[in-house]
Amino acid sequence: MNEVNVSMKINGKTVTGSVESRVLLAHFIREQGGLTGTHVGCDSSSCGVCTVLLDGYTPVKSCTMYAVMADGHEITTVESLAVGGKLHPMQQAFWDQHGLQCGYCTPGMMLSSIALLKQNPNPTEHEIREGLSGNLCRCTGYNNIVKAVQQAAQVMNQPELAAAADD
């Protein structure tokens, strides 16, 4: 099989690798990037546990892209969210609201949620449910995920809230 050189920025760091052209972005991130927070849960682009952000805030299912398609692009994964040991407001909200159980869907779910809030900083419950409908969760039944996104929206819209939470 022919290998191609692929290079992309993952969480701001350049990752380069020589891979077969059919290697999925999800596997590139996990294996070349060594970042295993991006998961794989299906073979049919249905579950969204592989969700990452492309070039800013576009959520993509990394199982549905070849690594070569992301050549030269920027990828954001869950590992970039916490900075210096401080959780991102979305992570904090998922923790506070019990928005995760097994944690397998959580990275993709949070990245989709962050992308959603970027587009729509004040979503209604229905808009949250619609915005996350490409990300399956088998454990939580979504109620608490909705609450988490609502909490995160509130905090992200009022950065002073996040600062207060630090005290």
Binding site: H39, D43, D96, H98, C139, Y142
Partner: protein, 793 residues
């Protein structure tokens, strides 16, 4: 206590506030999951590992005339192809099933018995090469006649398992109760209501598929990383299958991305990975595809006929159930050995039937093997669904309100311990109270009024009730074992000098939050901070033996072990406390989470101080502070609940909208309300999926029609209803902390509530029953059929 969840759960418990128990403590395990640092099976990679992939049969029933792997071996990076021939040479061609009634092919041996059965294992340097190889393994199949349902199987025209001594497709008969008395009571009842009810074949489908990595280390010791809900049982099973002594096996079950029963069985892929690692002397990794996950096992598939007798006044007189069970190609049910039909005897439910009888016959078919759980304590879901569905049909025939029929027949709270006619001794319950709480909270009266108005306008609104009782926590050793191993659980607690500690159990969380709740149980018993306990599970080298996490057994069994182990520590601590305070240990009382010298106010010592003394000043006492305890529960526990669903059905499209859903659970003492509520939400969503969208269906030719998430549907955030919850509290009288279980209740209790609601909505049209899943198409067809029947009259 710090770190109480901010979004306080809706669940309000009736139990008194305590120190660490009953608090919505945020989960200790979450930070690693939130940061993408969970350690799931596919995150583990061993140096020099090979990738394994499996060749699956496209035929549901066929002889294998030959397997040619020469082309596959030409793929660059190909290492080996293994078939049953090689496995048989090592005597590992077949593997015993968990409850011991059957054995299962690891790789197809001479023939295939279901579509997607594993036929060959390939090993390669890369994942891509392994998948290329499976395309090139040539298998010569000779198709055979397919038996795609148990009713065809019972004719024995086509014998599916000639390898077995008994030349029949019938696997076993199981029955319980008094047939003669039941028939007699039915014969003299004013009313006898009969209904055929199918619980379709479904699958637990956790988002993380199964997988493993096997390695024999330089000392010849097997290191087996695997997605297992029961690591110790795996270790013993591997000893039984492979003959490797248990000291030479280490099973490590890492973080699990959900399980729900799917990660209980030992799958053929695991055996192939170990065999490959042994022969090739390299680590072998195998991760299921979603299709492999959905086609290797299943849950339910019970075809049930129920008869209920009742007096004119609505007093139940007798219950009779006859079930035909479809077990697929192998009887791979993971039931305790004395219970081939699991806990199906709970089918008499929450009701005081004077007599009852249940009979079941299980058959082989050309379908995926199993009969494993899907968030269910061994067939409790089938049983609960059946009785709760049937109660509504009885109420309908007697023209009674379904809540009134239930109220009239509930086992009364003073009847506990209650011996059921199907041989369970229910521990405790207050069914009427829980139902009253639910009816009050949902506003049942107002809903009935609204429904009457809507019906007058021809609108289809339904209210569905389910007042289920479960039996969980297997179980007492005199009745329960798996592969001969009694179903106890072990707990080990070690307190460090600083008053923190480590907790180890033989259970294995898959998202249930044991790292938090186990710490809460121990902290409550010892008056220590739950934040300061590390909880470890899943490594058979370090954890005490336990039967694992499934069938809602963790809190009933391991939870009991933890509380009692902590009390053992307290007793030792008392001696050390006495030494430090220079009193007799009999002068000490444990009160308000510290030792107090009786009659000497202010003379106290906390457990934290005792812990330090245990290492610095133990006196004549044995130093250190730790305990290990194995808990053999004296009885099962019997959680119960009342669930109410309110639905609107669109008459034109058959679309059901679940407008409200309330779950009132009685799980006894609750450890962490936030986690309990989360479990209920998740279980209700799974119950919703089963009621409305999930089925592993097969066509006439034996093709499996649900092999990925585009055909086997998982509810998204958009379809999933908003869940309302509440709790009542009837502690278990025999459990050390009065706890029952809750993880499976919502999945056990909710399907009947959903279906009862839809049928209630359609009842003005004369619809009496529809089998799940209640898809739009099925409901639409039922409406049209009913309307046409009216038009034809």
């Amino acid at each position: 206590m710090t770190d109480i969840a901010q979004g306080s759960p809706e669940i309000v418990t009736e139990q008194p506030a305590k120190f660490a128990m009953g608090k919505s403590m945020k989960r200790k395990e979450d930070p690693r999951f939130l940061q993408g640092k969970g350690n799931y099976i596919d995150d583990i990679n061993l140096k020099g590992q090979l990738y394994m992939a499996l060749v699956h049969s496209p035929y549901p029933h066929a002889n294998i005339r030959g397997i040619d792997s020469s082309e596959a071996m030409k793929i660059p990076g190909a290492v080996a192809v293994v078939t049953s021939k090689e496995l048989n040479a090592y005597n590992v061609g077949w593997l015993p099933t968990f409850h011991g009634l059957d054995k299962q092919m690891v790789l197809a041996d001479g023939k295939v018995l279901y579509q997607y059965q594993e036929v060959a294992a390939v090993y390669a340097e890369t994942r891509e090469a392994a998948y290329d190889m499976i395309e090139l393994v040539e298998v010569d199949y000779e198709p055979l006649e397919v038996v795609n349902n148990p009713f065809k199987a019972m004719k024995d025209d086509v014998l599916l398992r000639p390898d077995r001594e008994a030349k029949t497709n019938h696997i076993y008969n199981w029955n319980v109760g008094d047939q003669g008395a039941t028939d007699a009571a039915l014969a003299t009842s004013d009313h006898v209501v009969k209904q055929h009810v199918v619980f379709p074949r479904v699958h637990a489908a956790p988002l993380e598929p199964c997988g493993c990595i096997a390695e024999f280390d330089v000392m010849g010791r097997l290191q087996f990383y695997v997605t297992s809900q029961a690591p110790h049982v795996y270790r013993t099973a591997l000893f039984l299958v492979l003959g490797i002594p248990e000291d030479k096996i280490r099973v490590i079950s890492p973080d699990l991305g959900g399980g729900f029963g799917n990660k209980v069985p030992v799958y053929p892929g695991y055996v192939c990975a170990i065999a490959g690692a042994l022969v090739l002397q390299r680590p072998v990794k195998w991760i299921e595809t979603r299709t492999e996950n959905l086609t290797s096992s299943f849950a339910r598939d019970y075809h049930m006929d129920i008869e209920i007798g009742a007096t004119k006044e609505g007093k139940l007189t007798a219950l009779k159930v006859n079930t035909v069970a479809d077990h697929g190609a192998f009887d791979a049910a993971a039931d305790p050995s004395k219970y081939p039909a699991g806990m199906f005897g709970i089918v008499s439910g929450s009701y005081d039937f004077p007599v009852a009888y249940a009979n079941l016959d299980a058959y082989f078919t050309n379908k995926q093997p199993g009969g494993v759980a899907y968030r269910c304590s061994f067939r409790v879901t089938e049983a609960s669904y059946l009785i709760e569905r049937a109660m509504d049909i009885v109420a309908d025939e007697l023209k009674m309100d379904p809540t009134e029929l239930r109220r009239k027949n509930f086992i009364q709270k003073e009847q506990f311990p209650y011996k059921s006619p199907l041989n369970f001794t229910y521990d405790s319950g207050d069914y009427e109270h829980t139902m009253d709480v639910a009816l009050e909270k949902i506003g049942y009266k107002q809903l009935l009024e609204e429904q009457a108005e809507k019906r007058a306008r021809g609108e289809l609104m339904g209210i569905g009730i389910s007042t289920f009782t479960e039996v969980t926590g297997a179980g007492p050793s005199k009745h329960f074992d798996i592969l001969g191993i009694k179903m106890f659980d072990g707990a080990e607690i070690r307190i460090h000098p600083s008053g923190s500690g480590i907790i180890r159990t033989g259970t294995k969380s898959q998202g249930q939050g044991h790292e938090t709740t186990w710490a809460q149980i121990v902290a409550e018993e010892l008056g220590l901070d739950p934040q300061n306990f590390l909880v470890e599970e899943g490594d058979t080298d370090t954890a005490p033996y336990g039967l694992g996490t499934y069938a809602s057994r963790s809190t009933p069994v391991a939870g009991g072990a933890l509380a009692l182990a902590a009390r053992k520590i307290r007793e030792k601590a008392r001696k050390i406390a006495a030494h430090v305070l220079e009193v007799s240990e009999h002068d000490l009382e444990w009160k308000d989470y510290a030792f107090h010298v009786m009659g000497a106010p202010g003379k106290t010592i906390t457990m934290k101080e005792v812990a330090f003394a245990a290492y610095t000043n133990p006196g004549d006492n044995e130093p250190g502070l730790e305990a290990t305890l194995y808990y053999d529960p004296p009885n099962m526990v019997f959680p119960h609940g009342t669930y109410v669903a309110v639905v609107d059905v669109d008459r034109d499209t058959g679309e059901t909208k679940v407008r409200r859903f309330l779950a009132v659970d009685d799980a006894g003492t609750i450890i962490n309300p936030m986690i309990v509520e989360g479990q209920i939400h998740g279980g209700l969503t799974e119950g919703f999926a089963i009621a409305f969208m999930q089925e592993i269906a097969y066509d006439e030719a034996g093709n499996n029609l649900a092999t990925n998430f585009t055909d086997y549907l998982i509810p998204t955030s958009l379809e999933s209803p908003h869940w309302e919850t509440a709790a009542t509290c009837t502690p278990s009288p025999h459990h050390p902390i009065g706890a029952k279980s809750v993880g499976e209740s919502p999945n056990v209790g909710s399907p009947a509530a959903f279906v009862n609601a839809v049928i209630d909505a359609l009842s003005p049209l004369g619809v009496r029953h529809i089998d799940m899943p209640l898809t739009r198409e099925k409901v639409w067809a039922a409406i049209r059929t009913a309307e046409n029947a009216v038009a034809a009259d």
